[in-house]
């Protein structure tokens, strides 16, 4: 979709292009432009692996290591998901990205009335450690990392990941989880929040603090500009808000008396590839630079490797269409190209059928192959940051940097990111922008192939993933079996200790691990938090 605004004359000649973030694109860029913006190679970009890391965080780029591929995977029961994990790994996927169903994400057990109709639907259902044992059976947790797409109850799922690792003989020090664990973005977009802002951020601080010593290979937080963008933010806002959210988590841990260099190197980001491709490339390059500068200047980070913006750049869900669905395969390929040209450490694509439902094995493998083609066939591993030095790219990278800084300043002026999210200021702003984008599509000002241009052709049927009601019944039966077999006394005891820890403001992680090992359910653990912390009150839309 054209998300940039094109000003044209009556003969369809383009007079001006205005990118979403407000940058005007010129017909041609020359050395004069670099002079105009005061471009300084050493200061503005520098070699890959050198501060400010605009060109990339590793000197060797993809030569030393191609990106990690992590298709978002999970549905039905843990057994069904385990099978799909193995299928993806057998086809060369190098990381996991676990999709949980909504009851799990919202801290309800599969037999809770709130879970009705949702069990195993958009991800796999997890109730107890027994489910993780099945989901990760025969997967080398010391060799492959797992992204856990969960936020409000990320602390519970990280504890369970440690418990399953230990159950299978992997020390917590060798396993690597990347829980998404970004609650402020859930409050802006995606909406899987439970607890109020303050305790929710405190839980994130707990996971970061705990990981430092217990799970040093874990990336305890993955800040998601991704969903903020999908909710209507511009690319500049996506990065601005993500950086400010990251700072909020840093501040929480700093207040506990740690040195920033002890933990910030494990932060990672999840950012969106949807949009005008040049603007995205400029966005990622500027983001790396601003994150490094933010850490160095605001937080006085000392160690070079702690300044790296490590990211999953991928997805692009907002760009997919139901109309002419096979076009989504080609869109995915271009999105992947953007991610590769931008030096993504990790990537994943939305599959072509995801505008309808969760992907079939066929469509998920097509996405994986798309990613593999770029690295193994098209030459994207050849050289680092191949667009560097382009008069155009360097100019708009610098302009993006300014736009992102302007957006950050607006939020700081408002009173900071926590206030802007608590009040609903950002939610209202991005919802309004999303509406403007839809209006642009309706008026034809924004163009989308198959939607408002090139609509010719017959509608096509797509083979869709079928939801299996029997999976939900199986999951509920299995949960009830676990409840019978476990020691009720041990469960009650560990939950009691969790409650005390939560109330006294202690780090809850060791208590959660004990609950998980006693086969307490996600609903029981989340229930303790619900009772202790209460629930987030959503700000109004208008």
């Amino acid at each position: 979709m054209t998300v940039a605004r094109y000003i044209k004359d009556e003969k369809d000649k383009i007079l001006d292009v205005v990118l979403e973030s407000g940058i005007h694109v010129k017909t041609m860029y020359t050395p004069d432009d670099l002079q105009r913006i005061g471009f300084d190679y050493g200061k503005d970009v520098a070699d890959a692996g050198q501060y400010p890391y605009t060109r990339g965080i590793h000197a060797q780029g993809y030569r030393s290591r191609a990106w990690t591929t992590r298709q978002y995977t999970g549905f039905g029961t843990p057994a069904e998901t385990n099978e799909r994990f193995k299928l993806m790994i057998a086809h060369g996927q190098t990381g996991l990205n676990v999709a949980f169903d909504l009851p799990t994400q919202m801290g309800y057990d599969s037999d809770d009335p709130m879970a009705e109709g949702e069990v195993g639907r958009v991800g796999m259902a997890i109730d107890t450690l027994r489910d993780f044992e099945i989901a990760f059976k025969d997967i080398r947790l010391d060799k492959i990392g797992a992204g856990l797409t969960i936020n409000a109850v990320a602390s519970i799922m990280l504890a369970m990941y440690q418990a399953v690792g230990e159950k299978y003989g992997y020390d917590a020090k060798v396993i690597s989880a990347t829980p998404q664990n970004d609650i402020l973005k859930e409050m802006i977009g995606r909406g899987a929040w439970i607890f109020p802002v303050e305790p929710a951020v405190k839980l994130i601080g707990d996971t970061i603090e705990y990981s430092m010593t217990t799970m040093p290979k874990t990336n305890p937080v993955s800040i998601c500009g991704y969903h903020i963008r999908e909710s209507g933010a511009t690319p500049a806002q996506e990065i601005a808000y993500a950086l400010l959210i990251a700072n909020a988590y840093i501040d929480n841990v700093l207040a506990r008396g740690y040195d920033v260099d002890e933990f910030v190197g494990r932060f990672s980001f999840n950012l969106n590839v949807f949009g005008n491709m040049w603007e995205q490339v400029a966005k990622f390059r500027a983001a790396r630079k601003l994150w490094a500068r933010n850490l160095k200047e605001r937080y006085n980070v000392k160690k070079a490797q702690n300044l790296f913006l490590r990211g999953l750049f991928g997805g692009g869900g907002l760009g997919l269409t139901k109309a002419q669905p096979e076009n989504n395969i080609m869109r995915g390929a271009y999105y992947a190209l953007v991610a590769a040209l931008s030096g993504a450490q990790t990537t994943a694509l939305c599959s072509f059928d995801e505008a309808f439902t969760i992907p079939t094995p066929h469509s998920a493998l097509l996405s994986l192959r798309t990613l593999q083609l770029l690295m193994d066939e098209m030459g994207l591993r050849d050289t680092v940051d191949p667009l560097a030095g382009s008069y155009f790219i360097e100019t708009i990278t610098k302009e993006m940097e300014q736009k992102i800084e302007e957006e950050m300043a607006k939020i700081e002026q408002y009173g900071g990111i926590v206030k802007a999210v608590s009040d609903g200021y950002i939610q209202r702003l991005v919802a309004r922008q999303a509406f403007e984008m839809e209006k642009g599509l309706e008026s034809g000002e924004l163009q989308k192939v198959g939607v408002n241009i090139h609509k010719e052709g017959e509608p096509m049927e797509v083979e869709l993933h079928e939801y299996n009601y029997a999976s939900a019944e199986k999951q509920i039966a299995s949960l009830q079996q676990v409840r019978k077999e476990r020691s009720a006394q041990q469960v009650a005891q560990t939950l009691k200790e969790l409650e005390t820890a939560a109330r006294e403001g202690k780090n809850v992680m060791p208590y959660l691990v004990a609950c998980c090992k006693a086969y307490a359910t996600v609903g029981e653990m989340a229930g303790v938090f619900r009772q202790t912390f209460g629930e987030f009150q959503e700000p109004s839309l208008f």
Binding site: L102, P103, M106, G117, G189, G191, A434, S540
Partner: protein
């Protein structure tokens, strides 16, 4: 039209799904089209949605569902609406809705189904013509 009471619509997010871009876009669009719009916020149970609909005396209930659970949710809503004596209120559904499910939703009593990608103008026109005014 000028003398008529404005159409009052409730845009609701039933269930656990939190993807609300679409719901908010539709809420804005209906408001701009001159309707009075109430947005439920996220994670609402069917009972909560029905209570808002009764309290606010809305003409229309629009459900936004992205999780795939549209059929069980619509079924439950239809049953409870009848129970509460508001079975006459118009219901429409938007979200990630595969075409093959539309007949089933209509059968349950959903008056209009507007899957993602439906032009806003179509949704607005439907509501203007479907809400009967005395």
């Amino acid at each position: 039209m000028g003398e008529q009471k404005r159409i009052k619509a409730l845009i609701a997010k039933p269930g656990l799904d939190g993807h609300d871009r679409g719901a908010k876009v539709v809420a804005h669009a209906l408001k701009e089209a001159g309707m009075e719009v109430i947005y439920s916020g996220l994670h609402k149970t069917i009972d909560q949605i029905i209570n808002i609909a009764i309290q606010e005396d809305v003409d229309v209930i629009g459900l936004s569902i992205m999780s795939g659970a549209h059929i069980p949710i619509a079924q439950k809503l239809a049953e409870k609406m009848k129970e509460k004596g508001i079975g006459d209120k118009l219901v429409f559904v938007g979200g990630v809705i595969p075409g093959r499910d539309i007949p089933k939703l209509k059968e349950i009593g959903v008056a209009g189904v507007f899957p993602g990608g439906t032009p806003l103008a179509e949704t607005i026109a439907f509501m203007k013509s479907a809400v009967k005014r005395d």
